[in-house]
Amino acid sequence: MYHIDPGSPIPVYHQLAKQIELHILSGDLGDGDKLPSIRELASELRINPNTIAKTYGILERKGLVVSRKGRGVFVSIRGFDIDESRHELFTELTEEYLKKAGRLGLSDDDILDLLSSRLKGRK
C-alpha cells in the first residue's frame, strides 16, 4: 500500500505523508477512517516509529487527520478545503511532468500537442 523510494533524497516521513495525503484526497481513505497505529505501520514498513509519528504530525498540522488520545489517528477532512489540496497536488505533479519532459528535450508545443491528443483520445 505504501512504498518508500530508497533512492529518493526526500526524507521518508515526507514520502509517507505525501502518499497518505494522496489516499485521502483520492477518497481511498474516507472521513473518520482510522489510520494504522504507529507500531503497526512501523512494523509493516520496517520504519522507525519516530518517523511514523513525524508523518502523522505533518498530516495533523495540515488538518487531514486528528489524533485522539488512546484511540488512534483518524482521517478528519471536515472543514478542510479538499479541492484546494487536490489542485495543489495536481500542480506539483504537473511541475514534475514538465521537468521530465524538459529533460527529454521536448518543446512547449510538443507537450501541448501530446497532451491535447491524449485528452481527445480519452473521450
Binding site: 530508497p6 507500531r39 512494523s43 519516530n50
Partner: protein, 281 residues
Amino acid sequence: MVSLRGLSFDYGSKTILKDVSLELRRGETLMITGPNGAGKSTLLRLLAGVLLPTSGSLEYDIPEGTDPRSIMAYLPDSLSFYRSMTPEEAADFHSGLFGTPPADMEMVRKAGVDMDMPISQLSMGQRILVQLSIELSTGPDLILVDEVLHAVDPYLRGLLFRELIGVMEERDPTVVLVNLNFEEVANLVDRVIFLGSKGIVIDEPSDELRSKTMLVVAEKQPEGLSVVTGRRVLGIQQWVVYPLHGGELPDNASPMDMKGILGAFMEAEYEGQRTGTRGSA
C-alpha cells in the same frame, strides 16, 4: 544516553580502536557499519561493558548506583546464552536476575521453536530469536545488536524486527545496530556511523547523509568537490561526492540510496588500504 570520550582499545600490541568519541542520544537508532576489522564489534562490546577500554572513558546517563548492564539488552555476535537451559527456563532465570516479569515468548512460539529443547540444540536463527526476546523483556533503555541477523532467515528476521520495533515504539530506547545489510535497516536508523580502519569516517543523521551524497557522471574528477571514490561502470566514469554543502548541486548529479552510499565508502576504504592513502579528498 552514553558518552564515549577518547576511547581506545588495544588487543596485545594491536590497536583495534583509537581515540573514538561519540555521543549516543536517548531515543535514537544508530547503525554502525564499516569494513571487517575496523572494530565495530569491539566498539559494541565496550558499550556493553563486556570489554574495558585501554584508555578513555564511557559514561552512562543513568541514576547513581545503577548497574549499566541492568538497563541494556545486548545481542553479541557469539551466542553463549544459557546454552543448557530450555527457552522458558532461560526466560525465568533471566527475569529472576533482573527482577522483571519473564519474557512472554510469543514470538518464539510463533517461530515454531521447540520449548523443551535446550538452547544449544536450537538452530542459529532460533537461538538469536530466543535471546532477543528474553533480552528485550527487561525493558531496556539501551539495545545493542551485533551483526547476527545474517544467520536468520527472512521470515524469522521479520519477526525479530517486529519485536524490536515494538520495544522502540513503547520505550523509545537508544538502539545500536552493527550492520552490513544497509537496505534492511535503512529506514529504521536515524543516524549512520561508518567506522573505517582509521576511525570514524561518517557520523551523520541518515537524511543528511542522503542529501549530502551524490553520484556525479563526468569524465574528469569534479573540481572543488570532495570525492569519496571514482569508478568506471559500463564505460561511464562516475564520482561519488560527499559532503555537499548547503544547496550545492553539481551538473549531472543524482541522489543515491543508502546501499550505494555506504558501498562507496566501503570501496574507498579498501582502495585506501591498497594505495596507502585515504580514498576521500
